[in-house]
Symmetry: C2
Subunit: 230 residues, 2 copies
């Protein structure tokens, strides 16, 4: 929609990959709608995933013992976070919708994207206990996890060897986004694209574009244990 800002946090090494194409489809469709779209292309940015002392500019709050959570909370207050974090936080702040586009690695996001979560969603910026979940600081924003899998859809069912795909969404959707107050749209999952035909991969791209056409009318999921484990 005109006036809406979208941030796509994208983690794939290869622009020609299906993930790269899915990201492009989103940029095109959402731009066509009049949205302003920003992409954080994590591998291209060589985004740093490690949470270290380098994230704090200048002196530490506690010189005796380094506590990452405490240090970045204090650095955020002072405006002393490293510039890459300030930049990502500005993008988040301006976004109405966050799309995370990635290949599933080990029932979760790739480390480079986990590092984005670990480092960007600083206490004071995204949450501050007890301001979490419904009162998290990123309320009024939406998030959508869009990813590809290696395993088949059948493997990711309740009776399948890898269990219901929803089981593995709990830490990402509830534990991260919902914790910060973000409302979560249904995930978009392309199962086993490497095991299907070129034709079917094209259909996957079309289906994603199609979904995006009416995305702003979607209602968030009920991000409670029932959605995940019932």
């Amino acid at each position: 929609l005109p006036g809406r800002n979208v941030l796509i946090v994208y983690a794939h090494q290869e622009p020609k990959s299906l993930n790269g194409s899915l990201k492009n489809v989103a940029v095109e469709e959402l731009s066509k709608q009049g949205c302003s779209v920003t992409v954080s292309d994590l591998y291209a940015m060589q985004f740093e995933p490690r949470a270290t002392r380098n994230d704090i500019v200048g002196c530490l709050h506690n010189l005796e013992e380094f506590d990452y959570g405490v240090e970045v909370r204090e650095a955020y207050k002072r405006g002393d976070l490293s510039s890459d974090l300030i930049e990502e936080q500005k993008k988040v702040q301006e976004a109405d919708l966050l799309i995370f586009q990635f290949p599933l690695y080990w029932f979760s996001m790739p480390a480079i994207m986990k590092g984005w979560m670990d480092r960007v969603l600083v206490e004071g910026f995204a949450h501050q206990f007890p301001d979490c979940y419904s009162s998290g600081f990123l309320k009024n924003k939406l998030a959508l996890f869009s990813f590809t899998t290696g395993g088949s859809q059948e493997m990711y069912t309740k009776g399948g060897i890898s269990g219901d795909i929803r089981y593995l969404l709990w830490p990402m959707q509830h534990g991260i986004m919902h914790y910060c107050g973000v409302k979560v749209l249904a995930p978009h999952i392309c199962f086993a694209p490497e095991s299907v035909s070129e034709e079917e991969r094209k259909e996957m791209l079309l289906a994603w574009g199609q979904r995006l056409k009416t995305l702003w009318k979607e209602k968030p999921i009920d991000c409670s244990p029932e959605w995940y484990f019932k």
Copy 2:
């Protein structure tokens, strides 16, 4: 036990932290038992969490399109993985027990440790579909996730705002370790050490040392959906 090899994969920035002390307790107690203990101190090693082309020495299998999974699988076969990965794989191969020691970051492990999983557990080395779960290549090994939380034990209960702590163990224990055939011991969790007294933190260290005394007699958990979601 004499003759047993233990690998501790450890992710904390501060040696004086509780995580650092928990790691030291494990090194001391297991060494006293006669085990041979190796520590991968990920932050100290500046371990690389990003899965990139740098993990493959020499030429790529497919020069047109970079597929990380395919490339590391082929590089593993040729003996062309980067030296840091070969070293970690050797440690895993020799280990009877893997202990993962870390502070919980966003319902999961810190990105630096997720990167260890993403990069070390290469297809061909740790698994090769359909050789996964009970026939994963790392069968006959044990794993134990030992971690600290920010939130209280009460928050991590079925009725608590963060849900049963077992929900978030599914991707790590089942999706990674069990997938590779590793049997999983009950997790060791220190809840909210930053909210308790110095006295109580000392008790946490003692309890961990105590548990390790009889660790080799423990039976693995039944790593099925029932354990996590019932």
